[in-house]
């Protein structure tokens, strides 16, 4: 039984096959429109996430399958005290595959150990969000044509930003990738990731000002400072506006640099940037559907 809990659960070769499939889905959507007929996806969302849940549901509907599930813990048996282990055992009787989001770190791991259907981690607290990573990677691959040979800047909340942590882990497996971490002191990248880069001899630098470094980037990954990751409201208010990407800063960037963002955006990217061809964060959302379609097919073992 295959699950996707961590982006590193798939080898580079398996990811290549997944991205090839996603690209084929993009080119020939009609070919895949009935591949999951009779199959059900359960979306078990213990915390609200309209975007990710709708992306999963769209992916399954695009494949001709159907969807069941809940969209917050209050409307599930968790409100009666049911454990994740029991919930997934029950869901296994209803559905063929499950996408789970939970506020606690490691919840999807628990689900996968008790499940008789494939489990996709749709986000477990501040820990992992592998399908966002796959989305980011497919976007880079589709628009840059490769996953190696570039300098990527990651900007904003690098401490709590799980999409950032997952992306660094995943991209560090490709050749000639250089990282630039742009964050205030309080939201620096965790030491274990720095240790990993040092050990593998992967070049990186840490800077505070985006303007000083934007000119050398091939990719800029912006993140939101998330209120829900802070225990202290005062810290959140102090740091939330630290980085704002506007047209003036973008003028300093390469003409073919891409701006990515996992969304939702609050104000860290000015709306004036949206019309710039380098801003690809809304295209990212579309790639997210393709990659989730490819993932559902792969985990269900549905091939041509």
């Amino acid at each position: 039984m295959r699950h996707l809990i961590n982006p590193l659960d798939f080898t580079v070769e398996e990811l290549d096959a997944l991205f090839d499939l996603a690209s084929d889905i993009e080119k020939n959507p009609a070919h895949y429109a009935h591949k999951c007929e009779g199959k059900k996806l359960a979306t078990c969302f213990y915390e609200p996430s309209t975007r990710t849940r709708l992306s999963f549901e769209t992916a399954m509907l695009n494949l001709g399958g159907s969807v069941i599930g809940f969209s917050d813990a209050a409307s599930s048996s968790a409100s009666k005290g049911e454990s994740v282990a029991d919930t997934i055992r029950v869901i296994s009787c209803f559905a063929d595959i499950c996408a789970m989001r939970h506020p606690k770190e490691g919840a999807a791991t628990v689900a996968s150990t008790h499940s008789s259907i494939p489990v996709i981690n749709a986000g477990d607290g501040g820990h992992q969000h592998p399908t966002q990573t796959l989305t980011d990677m497919l976007t880079i691959r589709a628009l840059k044509g490769r996953l190696s040979d570039y300098t990527i800047g990651l900007c904003g909340d690098l401490k709590f930003g799980r999409t950032v942590h997952s992306l660094i882990n995943a991209l560090s497996r490709y050749d000639n990738v250089r990282f630039v971490f742009i964050s205030p002191e309080e939201l620096r990248i965790p030491d274990y990731l720095i240790d990993m880069l040092k050990e593998r001899g992967i070049p990186y630098e840490e800077v505070i000002r985006l303007e000083d470094t934007i000119g050398k980037l091939d990719l800029l990954y912006m993140t939101r400072v998330q209120r829900e990751r802070f225990f202290n409201e005062e810290d959140y208010i102090r740091l939330k506006d630290f980085y704002i990407l506007d047209q003036a800063k973008l003028e300093l960037a390469k003409k073919d640099m891409l701006v990515l963002h996992p969304l939702p955006r609050v104000n860290e990217i000015s709306v004036e940037v949206d019309d710039d061809p380098r801003a690809v964060y809304f295209k990212q959302v579309q790639y997210g559907v393709y990659v989730r379609m490819a993932l559902i097919l792969t985990l269900l073992g549905i091939t041509d």
Partner: protein, 142 residues
């Protein structure tokens, strides 16, 4: 200096960080055995200033010492037979430690899920780093 008599067969756990002997006593489940145990706290040590020592009278091999390497690799394990030190046991880091310590990360699923075993997995053998199987939080101190 406090003197505690020799043991005939068992283990002398030396160079335990001062004040931690009782924690180790519990983690080795010595409270659940009939073994005679001497707990020496704050003994003088040239190397450490002060240290704790545990002397356990029991058949050699009857205690699972894997957890010691996980807790503190600096602990010396002297194996005693016929009242003499037979050898010093090398501590090997276990691949996995189950239900020995609890994950302290308040965001970890172990903080709310009933009946879930607390499992730590060896993630860096060279540095002896263990991480929670679920949240991957680093285990820091016992």
């Amino acid at each position: 200096m406090l003197n505690v008599g020799k043991i005939e067969e068992g283990y002398v756990l030396d160079h335990i960080k001062a004040g931690k002997s009782l924690t180790i006593y519990h983690l080795l489940h010595l409270d659940k055995t009939d073994a005679q145990v001497a707990i020496i706290k704050n003994a003088k040590s040239n190397k450490m200033g002060k240290k704790d020592i545990l002397k356990v009278e029991c058949p050699v091999g009857s205690i699972n010492l894997d957890v010691l390497a996980f807790l503190d690799r600096k602990i010396t394990v002297n194996v005693i037979q016929d009242g003499e030190i037979m050898h010093k046991e090398d501590l090997i880091l276990p691949r996995e430690v189950k239900n020995v310590i609890k994950c302290k990360n308040p965001r970890c699923i172990t903080s709310i899920e009933q009946g879930l075993p607390h499992i730590f997995v060896l993630s860096d053998e060279k540095k002896g780093v263990y991480r929670c199987k679920y949240c991957e939080g680093k285990y820091n101190e016992y």
